[in-house]
Subunit: 147 residues, 2 copies
């Protein structure tokens, strides 16, 4: 199974957009991400539906962030993407008759539920503003290292 990298993608895109004044085109974002403009539109479209970005068509159009960076957490983005499945591992049968399988499912589900809760909690704690700040720090470090 291929991993879903859309959360990673939109974060990358949003931070690049945050660095720009005007709107950024799908083509420019596609170049940053190493992918196709259509893939960018498809994924950013979900953020548009969630009210996190706006798209302007026509000449000098493109994508623009329409929310406060500090108000957009990774969790909010995960939700905007439709809350895709987090785990690549799961139960064989979600509603088994077999009592043995019920025991197995109960044990696995408990562990997965705890891990998922922790992950979503961490996601809720990190905002685009935090990432932008982290990026600025890395940027300053690189400049310092060059001198």
């Amino acid at each position: 199974m291929k991993r879903d990298s859309r959360l990673s993608s939109v974060l990358h895109a949003l931070l690049h957009m945050a660095e720009q004044d005007g709107p950024v085109t799908s083509e420019a974002l596609g170049r940053c991400l190493g992918t196709n403009p259509v893939v960018v539109r498809r994924t950013m479209g979900l953020l548009r539906e969630a009210g996190l970005v706006t798209a302007e068509r026509g000449h000098a159009g493109g994508w623009r962030i329409s929310a406060d960076l500090a108000a957009v957490s990774l969790r909010r983005l995960h939700e905007a993407l439709g809350e895709p499945a987090i785990f690549a591992i799961g139960n064989r049968n979600e509603t088994p008759e077999c009592l043995v399988e019920q025991s197995v499912n109960a044990a696995l589900e408990g562990a997965f539920a705890e891990a998922e809760a922790l992950l979503l909690e961490r996601f809720a704690e990190v905002t685009l503003a935090d990432l932008a700040e982290d990026f600025a720090r890395r940027h300053a470090q690189r400049r310092a290292a060059k001198e």
Copy 2:
């Protein structure tokens, strides 16, 4: 991406085997799991390589647990299966040049690492003996409910 349900499968199979005295054939396990005997052999073969089960060929052959139920944790089974990827979500690019992407990756990786650690910890705490006990409890409850 399809979810990997092999951990769930082998747990189901092992508990059925624990209920039986003699060896259990791939075909019988396949019937329990609702799958093909070859799939059973393929997956159980990994447990055999890890020394958790033995297979006997020929007449009256089949699979047998060769370890103490209390000594086999879900984590041990996860390892025996080759430690398959836990998350269906991941970074777009694991070793990016782009500083923006490095910030994104660092944030996501931290959260994933914590969630994975918690999951594996929970897996380490649950053994086949625990699941067998849970099953016995469910079994007793069902019998009680019927009377």
